[in-house]
């Protein structure tokens, strides 16, 4: 029988990382995600799996450690919260440009600036539209449960290695901090150097006689070659957009209205939707699991038969832009959000729905 554990989302990330066979974690403390580093230090995985865990001097150093480790073909990750992710933006751009697999966890807090340590979803733009400089994307997974926090570590790495692109788990402070039941993934060994050489022939490991030198660089002064590089990145992104959209729909079969929400807000919306249905109002939920690639087709399809959409986010209106693009002006799309770390209850969401969509 599977062992059910009770733990925080942040702790689940740490446990899942060791069990997945991650080679290295490099991080810097910041609320509300410090439990990831703390749990890893307490687990001492260097004694069991051989995983390296290091508290870096800054988020800047941490992301560049991820860059260096990933360049050698290892499975490496970091975690942080909003201001820390801003500090990592340059490194994230380098990792994307270097076509390196890596996992980055952002347990979002309220901003801008130093902001608040309380939950937020205000880094949606930063995560899905780039964040650093240049034309790039990474795969963004949005967990809504502690179970998904654990599961998305493996999923994130699998996708990152499949497409040679960084993946991000974009959680809000609620999912990071709340305790829930979780079944941890089965432990598996770290890859051997031989397996890495086979899986990652591009890895910078020292040049044997059998191959030419491997160079991991993001610099290309020949504009024609740089354009080719960019076209190659875009080709990868178009395959990811075609094949890797993940989305959960609830009560959409007979829905006359929709709510669209991700992470913890999707759970609050679901309660509001059940209350609405108790009063005979047929509302459905679309919960994007991948924020990039965005489930545009799901919303496009549903927007042809529902009467209105409420987008519920812990921000001033970010994902709503992608929802509006999918709905193409066919129906009203309104936003409800709380800012500054405040989390609405289901009644507030329902009231907003009645006021802005049902009226």
């Amino acid at each position: 029988m599977e062992e059910v554990r009770l733990m925080k989302g942040n702790e689940a990330i740490a446990h899942a990382a060791v069990r997945y066979g991650v080679d290295g974690y490099f991080g810097y403390p910041i609320t509300p995600q410090s439990e990831v580093l703390e749990t890893l230090e307490a687990l001492m995985p260097w004694e069991t799996t051989g995983m390296v865990v290091l508290q870096a001097e800054s988020e800047v150093a941490a992301i560049n450690m991820v860059y260096g480790g990933a360049a050698t073909g290892k499975a490496v990750m970091t975690s942080s919260s909003s201001p820390g992710i801003s500090l990592m933006a340059e490194g994230l751009s380098y990792i994307a440009a270097g076509e390196l697999p890596a996992l980055v966890v952002n347990v979002m807090r309220g901003g801008p600036g130093l902001g608040t340590i309380h939950p937020s979803q205000a880094d949606y733009f930063q995560a899905t539209k780039g964040g650093g400089h240049g034309d790039y994307h990474f795969i963004v997974l949005a967990p809504s449960t502690v179970q998904e926090m654990a599961d998305f570590v493996g999923l994130g790495f699998d996708l990152a290695f499949k497409y040679r692109t960084p993946a991000m788990i974009l959680a809000d402070g609620i999912v990071g901090q709340m305790m829930e039941k979780v079944v941890l993934p089965k432990p598996r060994p770290r890859r051997s150097d031989k397996e890495i050489a086979r899986q990652c022939p591009w890895a910078v490991t020292g040049k044997p006689d059998s191959r030419k030198q491997n160079i991991l660089t993001t610099l290309e002064l020949d504009s024609y070659k740089m354009e080719e590089n960019n076209l190659r990145y875009q080709e990868t992104y178009s395959i990811i957009k075609r094949d890797e959209v993940r989305c959960e729909e609830c009560y959409t079969d007979d829905a006359e209205y929709l709510m669209v929400a991700f992470g913890s807000m999707a759970r609050i919306c679901l309660k509001a939707i059940e209350d609405a249905r108790g009063n005979g109002i047929k509302v459905g939920l679309v919960r994007p699991i991948t924020l990039w690639p965005f489930p545009t087709e799901n919303i496009e399809r549903l927007s042809r038969r529902v009467k209105g959409i409420l987008v519920v986010e812990l921000n001033a209106g970010q994902m709503i832009e992608d929802v509006r693009m999918a709905a193409m002006g066919r129906i009203p799309v309104a936003h409800f959000g709380r800012l500054g770390g405040i989390v609405p209850n289901p009644q507030e969401v329902l009231d907003a729905f009645k006021e802005r969509i049902l009226k």
Partner: protein, 256 residues
């Protein structure tokens, strides 16, 4: 009559290009120290038989293209972050020889935090530090190591300490840290200096493999283009001016 083919015989060879230096045309200016230091690194890795375990970390600056000349595996780091990149590369691959190659702007300005903390953790890496007191690649701006009074494109009337602060002696600073095992300052302006510099870099590489901690080899260098001098004059100017602030010699030599 051309008898050069008679001379080109194996028994007549007294010096060759190291096997690990490839045939790409170097972009370095005449008189620049980078070419000499590149050659030394190639020679040492070849002599150690270590090319299959060596990971070089290139900086942002003139040496950003080091990977074009030395035929080993390289990671090109973001500006200043080479010691962080090297930290992970070495910790995740402890049997590899990992070194960074960085200029003064990269190591002592934008990358100061990464440099100090990697050394303070005693990462088993070698840091090769090219100090020519100027930003070469971007066109000769002030570096943290620019001498007082020295003219650069951003200190056109000379570096003033009241405006720009003092030349940063980061190598002296690194020698204070318990994490460093070997900290030395060398140059490559004479054959004798080149031989000493080579011995220093080799020692640093051996320290990395023996897990003795962080080794730092500063090479006081010329930038004839940035300094706007002929190569010969740049060498003389370096001895007369740079050595006063940055005197060659070992600052620390410990086996832990």
């Amino acid at each position: 009559m051309d008898n050069s083919n008679d001379i080109k015989q194996t028994q007549n060879i007294v010096c060759t290009k190291p096997r690990l230096m490839n045939d790409n045309h170097m972009h370095y200016c005449p008189g620049c120290s980078h070419g000499v230091v590149h050659r030394l690194i190639a020679e040492i890795i070849e002599e150690m038989g270590a090319e299959n375990i060596t990971i070089g970390i290139a900086p942002v600056g003139c040496a950003v293209f080091a990977y074009n000349y030395i035929d080993i595996d390289w990671i090109e780091a973001a500006h200043g972050r080479a010691p962080a990149v090297a930290t992970a590369a070495k910790r995740l691959n402890p049997d590899r020889l990992v070194f960074t190659y960085q200029g003064d702007g990269d190591l002592a300005a934008i990358g100061t935090a990464e440099t100090i903390h990697a050394a303070n953790r005693g990462e088993n890496i070698a840091i090769i530090f090219i100090n020519n007191g100027i930003y070469g690649m971007t066109g000769g701006q002030m570096a943290p190591t620019t001498l007082e009074g020295m003219t650069t494109s951003t200190t056109p009337y000379g570096r003033r300490v009241d405006l720009n602060g003092y030349p940063l002696k980061i190598t002296e600073l690194l020698a204070q840290l318990p994490g460093t095992c070997y900290v030395t300052r060398q140059s490559v302006h004479t054959p004798a200096a080149v031989r000493k510099a080579k011995a220093a870099i080799r020692k640093a590489f051996e320290n990395s493999m023996a897990s003795r901690g962080t080794s730092v080899v500063e090479i006081v260098s010329t930038c004839s283009s940035g300094w706007k001098m002929t190569p010969v004059k740049a060498n003389r100017w370096m001895v007369d001016n740079m050595f006063e602030a940055y005197p060659p010699g070992d600052l620390k030599n410990e086996t832990r």
